[in-house]
Amino acid sequence: MQVPAYVEYEKATSVEHALGLLARFGPEARVLAGGHSLIPMMKLRLVQPETLIDINGLTALCYISVTDGELRIGALTRHAQLLDSAVAGQHFAILHDAEKVIADPIVRNWGTVGGSLCQADPSEDLSAAFAALKASMLIQGPGGSRTVPARQFHTGPYETVVAPGELLTEIRIAIRPGVGSAYEKVGRRVGDWPVGAAGAAIWLAGETIADAGIGLTAVGARHFAAAEAEEFLRGAPATEASFARAGEIAAEHCRPSSDQRGPADYKRHLASELTTRALRRAARRARGTGA
């Protein structure tokens, strides 16, 4: 029987209250959102917080909206809500692609977008999707709020820039014209973490790539992104040759590790192939010629 170690528990009733509790209980407190990563880790004693600050009552952080030219996603939005959101899928199909393959339908009912990002698992899917979309994260703390680019959010495996006493409250994605996006994942079975996965966003001006974003997860990519491949694509024609070369560049710059999900060379192969596939599908969507 796996049971977490003894822990204190506080229920937050507002963002301000949560910040107050975080200040009062200090760095040994942990924010409890969906809990679908935190509670299993507590059972295994991989983490042993002194206090849990339950933010599940902060329904004000459950929303998906378009405001000031941005798609805004509240941090407590459940995975199932993002998957069901027509407005999210209409602007950024990559979010639905990714959500369909995150865990399983029951876990998606309770796991949250913000919780997944703050857990910062190096194989997490949305981290790659938001890296591809060049999203930004709104973090609130005792001194006010700050915005951090998705690519500066993670500082390492299971580590983010969210300091003790701070709370991730929103993810923002700028809506720019000509975009298409897609996510491609290979896993061992339904619901598993990826062996490798790639997300792509492409902004087309005619048949020229005005801008591109590539997110990678589970393959040791810096900041979940493939910056060198994006640089290659900017200004290039939106052709099969460009996408294939971008995949090769992405694979060259990632650092996968061999583990029970596969050997490093296979993961590097996936980084290349899945980047190419995601770019191809993103381009079709940008042109409006395919799902």
């Binding site: 796996q2 003894y6 229920k11 409890l32 507590m42 399983d104 339908p105 309770w110 339904v190």
Partner: protein
């Protein structure tokens, strides 16, 4: 800490440790042993119950998180001595087999039918994809959910 949880329409108040998992609260505190405690890692889905309107894996939810909320377990599916069609479907189509995964399968099946009254076999498989039947009798489980879609409660 004190928690008050409305389980199958009955309000229960108990003094619990904050670390108590919802599955153990249901089974050990309330003696509602219909919900099964399986893998303990949120993979198998034997422990699925509804928290308010949503199926969740209760081995990965604290009882404290259910404080002030409604929980539906397999014991709450029957109404006035009449089985829910999902329960009758499992009986009619031999969906139980060993029975261990059954409570979770039925609660997810009920939720699916509430949202999609005429689901395709593919939709049923997708909805149940977070739950494991170690008898591997998925065909019968899919048939059971389809039976429930096609029959009203109290079908003789």
């Amino acid at each position: 800490m004190q928690v008050t949880v409305h389980v199958n329409g009955v309000t229960h108040t108990r003094e619990v440790e904050p670390r108590l998992l919802l599955i153990h609260f249901l089974r050990d505190e309330l003696r509602l042993t219909g919900s099964h405690w399986g893998c303990d890692t949120s993979n198998c889905g034997a422990c699925v119950v509804w928290l308010d309107e949503t199926p969740v894996k209760s081995c990965t939810v604290l009882a404290a998180m259910a404080d002030g909320h409604r929980v539906l377990t397999v014991e709450g599916l029957e109404r006035g001595g009449v089985l829910d069609p999902i329960q009758q479907g499992f009986a009619e189509c031999h969906g139980l087999q060993c029975g261990f995964c059954t409570p979770g399968m039925m609660l997810t099946g009920r939720w699916l039918l509430d949202h999609d009254p005429d689901p395709s076999p593919a939709a049923i498989r997708e909805a149940l994809s977070g739950q494991i039947c170690r008898c591997t009798g998925y065909e019968n489980i899919v048939r059971s959910v389809r039976w429930a879609a096609e029959h009203a409660a109290g079908t003789p």
